[in-house]
Amino acid sequence: MKDPNKVILQLEHISKTFRTRASLFKGDQKEIIALKQVSLNIFKGEIFGLVGESGSGKTTTGRLIVKLEEPDHGKLLLDGNDITRIKGKVLKNFRRKVQMIFQDPYQSLNPYLSVFDCVSEPLVVHKVGNSETREDMVRQSLISVGLDPPENFLYRYPHQMSGGQRQRIAIARAMVLKPEFVVADEPTSMLDASLAIHIFNILSEFRKKLNITFLFITHSLAAARYLCDRIAVIYKGELVEMGPAENIIRNPSHPYTRALIDAHPRFRY
C-alpha cells in the first residue's frame, strides 16, 4: 500500500517541446509545447492518476517516464537516482523495473507471437530463468490476470482473442518481470464498462500483492477516482490541480477540473 515516506518517482520541472518538420513549401517550423515545467512525486505502492483531455500531454508524460522520450529540460528520478539521460546497461536495467501498458491492445501486441512467446519475451530479453522456469512464470502471470486455466491461452495468437483478453495479455507481459513501477496509458479506453472494472480490479490486486506503483493515465475522472489514491489534472501541458482523489472530485478548485466534472455524463438512476 501507499507509503507516504518513500518517494519512488520524481519529476522535476519537466518540459518537452515537439517540433514539426519544416514543410517543403512553407519553410516554417512549428513548435508544439507538450509539457511545461511539470513537477510531481509518486509514492511507493500508490496508484497515481493523471487525468486530462486528448492533447493535454498526459501520454507524453507516460512516455517520458518509461524513457521512450527524453525531456528538453528538467530531471527524472527513480528511487532517488537520476534517470534523465541514462544509456546502455543502466537503461536496460531500468527497463526491467519500469513497464508500460499501452492503450490499444489491437496494436500493442505483435500478431506473429503466440501468447507464450509474447509474455515470455521480456524474460528472455532480461535473461531471467531458464526455459522451464519461464513457462511456469508465464503461467503464473496469465493466472494473475484472470486467464485461467493458462493452457487454454498459451498457444493462441492475438487475432484469436477478444479485446479484453488481449489487454490482459498485455498486462501479463508487463507484469511477468514483477516491475516496481508501471505506467498504464488508458488501458481500458477500448473496452466495455464491466470489462474496464475487471481490469481495474486486476491492477489493484497487483498493487496489493506485489506493492507495484502505478501511474494510471486516463481521460475519465470517474475511472481515476475508482482506482487511484491521488489524482493530478493536466491541461495544455501544465498540472492544474493535484491531490487525494476524493478531494479533487468533491472540492475541485481549478475551473478546468470543474469543467471536467460537469461534462461527465450524469447517470441519475
Partner: protein
Amino acid sequence: MTVNNLSVGYHTRKGFIKSVQGVSFALDQGKSLGLVGESGCGKTTIGMAIMGLLPDNASVTNGKILFEDQDLLKMSKREIRQVRWSKIAMIFQAAMNALNPVHRVSDQISEAILAHDTDISEEEATKQVQSLFQLVGIPMDRLKDYPHHYSGGMKQRAIIAMALACHPSLIIADEPTTALDVIVQDQILNAIKDFQDKLKISVIFISHDIAVVADVCDNIGIMFSGQLVEYGRVEEVFNLPMHPYTKSLVASYLTLDKDNVQLSPYFGETPNLIKPTAGCSFCQRCSVADATCRLMAPEWIEISPTHKVLCFQCK
C-alpha cells in the same frame, strides 16, 4: 420504423455466427432509441442491416425491417440506394477515418447533397453546408479546411453535418462519442439533442455507455449476445432494471456523485455464437440462474406496457 424478429449471421470459416437473433423493436417518428451492449453483441450489425451495408459474408436469415411501410430487406440495391443517406443516414464510429483526407470538408458534404438532389445548384449546396455547419457548431472560417486541420471533435461534428445533409428522417448513430474525451462528448451529445429537437429526426443510438444513452434516448434496448434482453422506456429500465445483465451494467457504472465502492461486475467470456446453448445465453455469467435457465430459452415478460424483459427469474 419497425424491426421485426430480425436475425443476421456471418459466414466464416469456423461456421455460421448468429450475430443477431430475433430482435424486434419499434421507433416512432421523432423519437430516439438506444441500443446498449458489450462489443460483439450485435448492435452495430443491426445498424448496418438497416442501412443495407452488411458485408458480403453476412446474411439476413429472418425478419423484416419496415421503414415508412416498406420492407428495406426486400428492396433491390438500387432502391435501397435511394433511401440510404436521403432518408436514413448514419454517423459512423471512428469519425477520424470516415472523412476523405484529400478533399476539403465542405466539398465532401456538398458532394453528398449534390449526389442525391440533382436539381440543386452548387451554390445552393454550399449555402446548405454553411447552415449545417452552423447547426453542428463548426466555425464558418473552417469550411475550406481539410480533415487533418480538424480536431477529433470537429471531425465528429462534420460527420454529423454530413449525416444531416440530405434531411433524413432517421439517423443511426454508432458510438459517435466513443473516441472523444468527456468535454467534447458533452458538446457532441448536445449537438445531437439539438438537431433532434429542431428537425424532429428519429435516432437510433448505439453505444456501450449507459449514461450516454440515458442522457439522449426515450427508449432503450439492452442487448446481450445477439438478443435484446430488456426493452422499455429509459426511466423505467434504469429505475427498475430487471435483467441480471442490465443490473450488472447499472452497477458497474462509475459515477462521480455517488460513493466510491469496490465493484465486482459479473464477468465471463462472450458466449459462443456459432453453437448457442439451448437455454438463456446469459446463464454462465448469471448469479440467479437455475436449471430451467440452462435448458430452456427464456420468454418475454411484461413488467409494464412499456417495459419488458427476457428472463425466467423476473416473473
